[in-house]
Symmetry: D2
Subunit: 416 residues, 4 copies
Amino acid sequence: MSAALPDEYEALRLRIRAFIREEVIPAEPRPGVSLRRADRVALQNQAKAAGVFAPHVAKEYGGLGVPIGYWPALFMEAGYSPIGPAVLNCMAPDEGNMHMLGQIATEAQKERFLRPLAAGEVTSCFGMTEPHPGAGSDPTALSTRAERVAGGWRVNGHKRFISGALNASFCVLMARNDAVEGEGVPAGATMFLVDMDTPGIRVGNDLHATDSAIEGGHPHLHIEDLFVPDELVLGKPGEGFAYAQVRLGPGRLTHCMRWLGLAKRAHDTALDRANSRELFGSPLRELGVAQELLALNEIDLETSIAITARTSALLGEDHRAGEKLSSIAKVHCSEAIGRIIDRSIQLCGGDGVTDQLPLAQFAQEVRPFRIYDGSTETHKWAIAKRASSRRRREIEAGEKPLDRVDPEGRSPRGER
Amino acid sequence: MSAALPDEYEALRLRIRAFIREEVIPAEPRPGVSLRRADRVALQNQAKAAGVFAPHVAKEYGGLGVPIGYWPALFMEAGYSPIGPAVLNCMAPDEGNMHMLGQIATEAQKERFLRPLAAGEVTSCFGMTEPHPGAGSDPTALSTRAERVAGGWRVNGHKRFISGALNASFCVLMARNDAVEGEGVPAGATMFLVDMDTPGIRVGNDLHATDSAIEGGHPHLHIEDLFVPDELVLGKPGEGFAYAQVRLGPGRLTHCMRWLGLAKRAHDTALDRANSRELFGSPLRELGVAQELLALNEIDLETSIAITARTSALLGEDHRAGEKLSSIAKVHCSEAIGRIIDRSIQLCGGDGVTDQLPLAQFAQEVRPFRIYDGSTETHKWAIAKRASSRRRREIEAGEKPLDRVDPEGRSPRGER
Amino acid sequence: MSAALPDEYEALRLRIRAFIREEVIPAEPRPGVSLRRADRVALQNQAKAAGVFAPHVAKEYGGLGVPIGYWPALFMEAGYSPIGPAVLNCMAPDEGNMHMLGQIATEAQKERFLRPLAAGEVTSCFGMTEPHPGAGSDPTALSTRAERVAGGWRVNGHKRFISGALNASFCVLMARNDAVEGEGVPAGATMFLVDMDTPGIRVGNDLHATDSAIEGGHPHLHIEDLFVPDELVLGKPGEGFAYAQVRLGPGRLTHCMRWLGLAKRAHDTALDRANSRELFGSPLRELGVAQELLALNEIDLETSIAITARTSALLGEDHRAGEKLSSIAKVHCSEAIGRIIDRSIQLCGGDGVTDQLPLAQFAQEVRPFRIYDGSTETHKWAIAKRASSRRRREIEAGEKPLDRVDPEGRSPRGER
Amino acid sequence: MSAALPDEYEALRLRIRAFIREEVIPAEPRPGVSLRRADRVALQNQAKAAGVFAPHVAKEYGGLGVPIGYWPALFMEAGYSPIGPAVLNCMAPDEGNMHMLGQIATEAQKERFLRPLAAGEVTSCFGMTEPHPGAGSDPTALSTRAERVAGGWRVNGHKRFISGALNASFCVLMARNDAVEGEGVPAGATMFLVDMDTPGIRVGNDLHATDSAIEGGHPHLHIEDLFVPDELVLGKPGEGFAYAQVRLGPGRLTHCMRWLGLAKRAHDTALDRANSRELFGSPLRELGVAQELLALNEIDLETSIAITARTSALLGEDHRAGEKLSSIAKVHCSEAIGRIIDRSIQLCGGDGVTDQLPLAQFAQEVRPFRIYDGSTETHKWAIAKRASSRRRREIEAGEKPLDRVDPEGRSPRGER
């Protein structure tokens, strides 16, 4: 129930804060340009030296071992720079893959895939999304197929929007499988660990999305007769949809944490502008036209921080409840982050829509977040359905329906 | 950092929940009608028997002694009925007065005022607000005056919107005082404990506000040559503005908690309607027109719960920081509560705007909350000012301003 | 294309404006109280004397004969008082009934029903809405039945929310009918003109809705073996759904016009408050917290006026196109009107939520408008469906779909 | 009052519509790339041949001579392609310069500047905006100075955000001047017609803004001892602020018209997607998650069209009233246009945020419109001030203030 961090993590937060301001922001590339790999590696080494690298990773794999309940404030400090999360090695899709590998992978798989990933030596991608009508907003529409063959699986399919794939060393690839009689494999989906230079997997055209914070673009992926041996199946075959949930709940929440940092940066930029400029003879900060926007920014920031912290604590205590709340947190934060950056642009006037300030690019970085990891509209649909089900169960358990009215229109409790 | 309640308080929450559903809701008066005092007392006795009475009050004064950090979930259960908080004796303005008396009053004052108030034997009011141009949105405009006289103070002034005054046994009255030389009393404001039958205090016309959950209306109060002896000064003379903050921070937050309960009730009513009705041949709950509203309700509820819980935890740890956040929580929750009830009305169609359902009255109950305890607009103004100050201090402490652009329009970091 | 009224109607507008301010506003009852019939009749006589009575009614029936394209500015002036439209005899449901009678009734029916209605001698109601699962948001769910009998029809059914029925002299009653072989009557709905004292029609319980501007409440109506002779069928039997459209398009638009007047009144009240009060040492009108609300009020008002004027002009030129646009106008105006009054309440602070000012009651008057005549949600659903159909027809007519993307993710027009 | 166009202009609208779809859209460059000048000229020749070129220009200068009241529907058709307005030669800043030259220039000036500009042979720019603290949101802060010298004026200053200047042949340059005794020149601002190759005017760094529809960027302009002879003063010296209003009112409105066309294109793209895709087993268009967005798009489009049409009609009849309304129209349309394109992106999912569809670039094209020609916030401030003044004048003229309450809280009209 505490709103404050334990001393140990508060000290780490302050170290990250200082590191981002002193080392990372001065090294940011021009708006719209991606960080070069060599520059990223150099900054990662500085982060290791400063004791701020990979806060979310278990200590045995080189991280700082912070439990998920304390991530929000740390990731938010990292996200104050668009390249901060990559420098601290807590950027998507790698961070989500590390989380999933940590929970599901065999020791051998962890050594081979998690260790170099956690160390920042390689990057990875997550191969789930497909072209229409395959897996998009509806993951169960998955159409890439894995067929049981001797000693492993043969995979065929077509993926799309595979963030990071242009640079990745390996992919966590998801495919649908039939039940395998005699092996206890249920029909469902299976996850595979696939080196990107394996024959049968080919990176296609990049979709040029509006963001530039993720190294390795968002390309198509073509999978043609790809053979994956049994030892590279991640977890149990047929259980892939459940594993995807393990990844998606925290995955969408860490996006909230990181992008809230960027939203804070935009808001601070706007506050600086409001403090330094005059309009119609008054400091901008004293004009109501500015105050309304600044207040709304603060409200959006603090409510987003609160719901993220609560969901994060819940994910550490009751994963299923946390997952449900993460859906609400994702919608609120992604929309709030977009609004905060948009208002900050308004407050900076013309400079906000040019490359004189990075704000227009910040808006481009976060725009897709309202779509990926489940669009706002898809989540709303799921949220409404879950609420209806919850209430139906309450009624079935004996609660009195609250919406009943008299068919003849008599006033309720007319006797009083 | 835990999102869950400790077992002891979770059990209490479930007791409150059951008590509200089984005893309180069936006893609710017709929409727009206030609970009769005798009915309230009877229900309070049931609440005492059920072990749910006065959860926020110290055990020595007959309460359950729950720390403020755990109030939100409990008060929200109480607020599921508009009369629930009065029955549990945690309704405004009494609850805020109990809190302040518990923190500031002398032992003798506690015995005389807090004990019967905590027991539900009497009710109270808080005399701060005044007619324009006195203390309204701006408490420092206080114009009621207290003059030092032998053995006490003589008070003159005119109050307004004094919730509960028609029924109250005593008033916590606030007046401006000059510095008193030789007694170490600074110029400022002083709080007085005044029995309502004291000569010199008179209840005036009631302002008929849209709500009916508070016993005792919102009348004017006329104070003419009221004498208050020294032993009825609450705290130290001249420190009243600071004490008002002690009351206002938690006070506005407990409003959030209680009204969130009512918003939840409205939302559950709408969910029942969406589950039981068909439109254009589909269950209402499967129509997007309904799903959008239900999802927005859930998002508003959960973000409000999250910011209330966070602020509540903070108030228990760092009162000053909690107070600042309570301003943001108040704006978000009061607006969200209004929206939730409004959407629930829409979902119930015609029944929503008649007395067939209590929703239209719920909307009336919560409407003033966007105005009292600081209107949305006043809080936004304060929130923006605090944000500007916070950032100016950061810049003065050495942070680099983020809004600077090149006077000639050269691109930043053009070298990359 | 002119934004201004012709001189003749501009003069009428100014007369209405003066009449409302000088005669009607001073005669308004206390908030929440309905105008007494005798007071209404007296004011109607004054309106006749002032040449402002029944502007929308044909001159031969005692009105001023203004074409529908010029109604908006006139009805809005009338609506500046909540009782103004009743005094000018252009209030719902009478105004919509006059419009329909004028277009569909026989000369004999006009003499018997339209003439006294237009003169303000009697009032009327419109019997369409039914208890669930009958005709509500979906008129085609009509369940009241008319059965062909010798010389007329026998009607049975149950109506609800029949505004004005407590006082009405007659009802335009809608019932479903089977096809009548040999008489050329199609299966559909039929409209009947029914005197309210006819045996077989009985007014039931009133639903106490939040508004008080309509005389005669919103009661249930019970129809039991009601006989209606052929000469009291309105229009042709079986064509009732088409006639309902004739009524509903302009009907929802005249609601917009009238309630925009009330919204203007609330906004003017807020402007007066912003001009007369100071807060934190500045005139309220110069505080950004107020300016934001005032500007949003202006924008909501002017866009509502513009879409109402455009729809009104269209209804006079191309009824079908006007009807479609009226759906959009209804959603925009009903929501905007609600927002304007709500913001005006905020600007008036505590006074806004008491009976010291009429604003809280204004909010209650307009609240149901977001539900009746098709709720916001139902209209949105219809608007989206119409837009989809419109675009599908364009595609079928040869337009190139705009949403196509390359399955392999190649950039469009990559050659440039 | 007619909502329809006269036949002649309706025929022109249909010609523009067909020309844009058949000739212009297929010639659009890739998202983010500006149209090459040669391609533009070729398309302009096609437009001339098709009889759709320069609809707003007087016939004597090669245009179609359409009065401003009929522009909205025509410009909106042109704007259905981001390059459409340039092809029809009705793009900013040229269109606004043509309008101003047509109203203010001498015959000789018209021959020299307006004729080639109207013919599409040259382009132009408008030199008003300056770096902070010069003329930005507050034009009266103009700091570029014109000094009276023999036979003309000497100008010094620094401009910024001068759209189109990289390609322009001439600039309409604005500078502050002192009063000139004996010549009847008041202190104020003066407009100059300046060939861009005149010594003393130099194009500086381009600000890379998010849009690409305007040829010639948004660079700085440095003016150093620029001599302008008397015959190149536009209108009368010292009257520049009034002329700027002549330009700004219609200027901001034609932006609304053009960008509404682009918003319509985005909406049609979303409708096509909703019609062609399935999600969770239903056509997307039947899912409420999509319907909500589509309906809001329609409402935003139609209210924007209505307020634009009304303002446009008013500008033709009463320029001053039109100018005031244009402020409201600008805020509503610029915000609505942004929302429509944003929602269309959501409806197209991942494709919406890549270059597979042009929608992300459309969002970039229109983003600055919420800032230039007066930001939303600046206009709101002005709108609120004008509303306050309007109401103060009404009160001064004898209207009764509506906000007065009884100091003792007595209910109004308590006698009823």
